[in-house]
Subunit: 322 residues, 2 copies
């Protein structure tokens, strides 16, 4: 299959998922100026894409920011009741959404484009009986000593695990996203020519109670999975996942490492089943890509934020087709 220039007429509606590394990098303290610089760079490319005619929804990670918030809450817990995880997600949808929307508006303004950009606080429904609730496996927040970990286990009923010699960390369940509560609102905004920021940090996880009401739950939703569900529900054509690597690789970090430039869904699934992609890293991105393509998506692009312009020309990145 030849790599083609990605045409907004052919792929009018795009969901762009910003990985954590488009927001903050290892070694950075995570000051506001550092975050703003990273986000501005990613938004410059996004502004080009919007200027070229794509209708865009931007989703993003929030791991480092929620980690900082958990640390702050822990520190002040004697005087301020700490909030549950899902409230931290909601917080970060506000503050990261604000930064992203402001950077994008500014980048568009530089290009002479006065477009509306809206951050929509997003709730994502998960199943109350998702098996993940019995097997929390997503490490979040600060590191604890073994003594502290034992105490937290007893006092708060947390699950904790030792993390690669660096200390103990809380584990949160990571249930599958089922549907986006605000999907129709997001689609309506796109129809009006507005660029939307949504499902930040995978969205606020909620369950539906037997009486039909929504309620937040202690969990973390994978951002790529939530992005795929959102992309399918708003009938996006293209999903772009911006991450730390230029390509998806076969035999990644092995002697025979090679970039995968174009893949059919069947080929991607074969590699996935062979265990070529790291769990918690590339594997959920590929699973999300397959989910999106199976539900009507036309194309997935996985690459680095800084390579996006070249990748849109078809000159780099991993492109996956149904």
């Amino acid at each position: 299959m030849p790599i083609i220039h990605i045409d907004p007429v052919r792929y009018p509606k795009v969901v762009i998922a910003l990985g954590g590394n488009a927001l903050i990098r290892p070694g950075e303290a995570g000051t506001l100026e550092e975050q703003r610089r990273r986000i501005s760079a990613a938004m410059a490319h996004t502004a080009d894409l919007v200027t070229a005619g794509f209708a865009a929804v931007i989703t993003h990670g929030n791991g480092p920011m929620v980690g900082q918030l958990l640390l702050q809450m822990e520190c002040a817990r004697a005087t301020v009741p700490p909030m549950p995880l899902f409230m931290c997600d909601a917080d970060s949808e506000g503050s990261l959404g604000y930064l992203i929307q402001q950077c994008l508006v500014n980048e568009l303004h530089r290009r002479g484009q006065e477009r509306g950009v809206a951050t929509v606080v997003t709730q994502v429904v998960v199943a109350a009986d998702d098996p993940a609730f019995n097997f929390p496996d997503k490490p979040i927040g600060p590191f604890y000593s073994e003594v502290e970990a034992t105490r937290l286990k007893t006092e708060r009923g947390w699950h904790l695990a030792e993390d690669a010699g660096r200390g103990w960390r809380r584990l949160a369940p990571s249930p599958r996203p089922i549907t986006i509560v605000e999907q129709k609102i997001i689609a309506y905004l796109l129809d009006g020519g507005i660029i939307v920021i949504a499902a930040g940090g995978g969205g606020v996880p909620v369950i539906r109670l037997p009486n039909g009401e929504f309620r937040g739950v202690e969990a973390v939703i994978d951002k790529d999975r939530a992005s795929a569900v959102l992309a399918a529900e708003i009938r996006a054509n293209l999903m772009i996942s911006l991450t730390a690597v230029e390509y998806v690789y076969a035999d990644y970090l092995q002697p025979g490492q090679r970039p995968l430039k174009t893949l059919t869904a069947a080929e991607a699934r074969k590699y996935l089943e062979e265990g070529q992609f790291a769990p918690g890293s590339m594997a959920p991105k590929i699973e999300s890509a397959l989910d999106f393509l199976a539900r009507g998506g036309a194309r997935v692009l996985i690459t680095q934020a800084e390579k996006l312009p070249e990748a849109l020309q078809g000159r780099t990145g991993t492109h996956i087709f149904p």
Copy 2:
């Protein structure tokens, strides 16, 4: 002027400003369950209003929540770089927006109404040369000892003042809101039958740089003033301000205290000029009401959240007309 039943045909578009006391009350620790209970009660009335046919935008305060966040950030500042005030505003737009939208969706669901509710993270433009930046007067965050206050003044250039014998507090500037960046998006959502939560905590204060870009500034915008600007810009007909008192009073807490049931703008202005309304409390609400009415608003209602149903029947609350 006779008090009439408030008719959604006559006043189709309403902005409802929730005061801090619709979210948290003095003496409450501010746990999530306490906040949820308060917000659900206010949203029950709002759901009735929406069911009756009003198109509604909800704005809200965030004082107690930002106070808690500032305390948490202060506590962990040795390990996590604290964020500026405007990022705290953005955080609270996310988390309070989430709580309000979920409570409202649930209350609407109980009434058989499946309506879209969207929280839009809102930026509010202030003037870079607003005189308030030279005279910070809005107390925020935790109380400090005199020794700490002196240190913070030197180390961080904060303005601090002694607060009624309770300790020293940081003072933030409170510039006038000029315009709402997301006003067209909010109006578009309303046109689509979606209920909008916006300008939480008065919105994130931003200035416009000489190159046309937006940038956050260290300030706090009065929630009622921001609500009035938003209400005027989206051409709302009615503004409802939910606060701690059933009525606006003349000679408040004096021997001759009397409720003001209906007022013309001219009458309200006269009372305001007489100094009848407390600065930082009722005065900005009345100023905001007058601003809204001068810019085309048709009616303002000021009352307690729990009195809203009766007030909509015209049986209580203070009603102000042009």
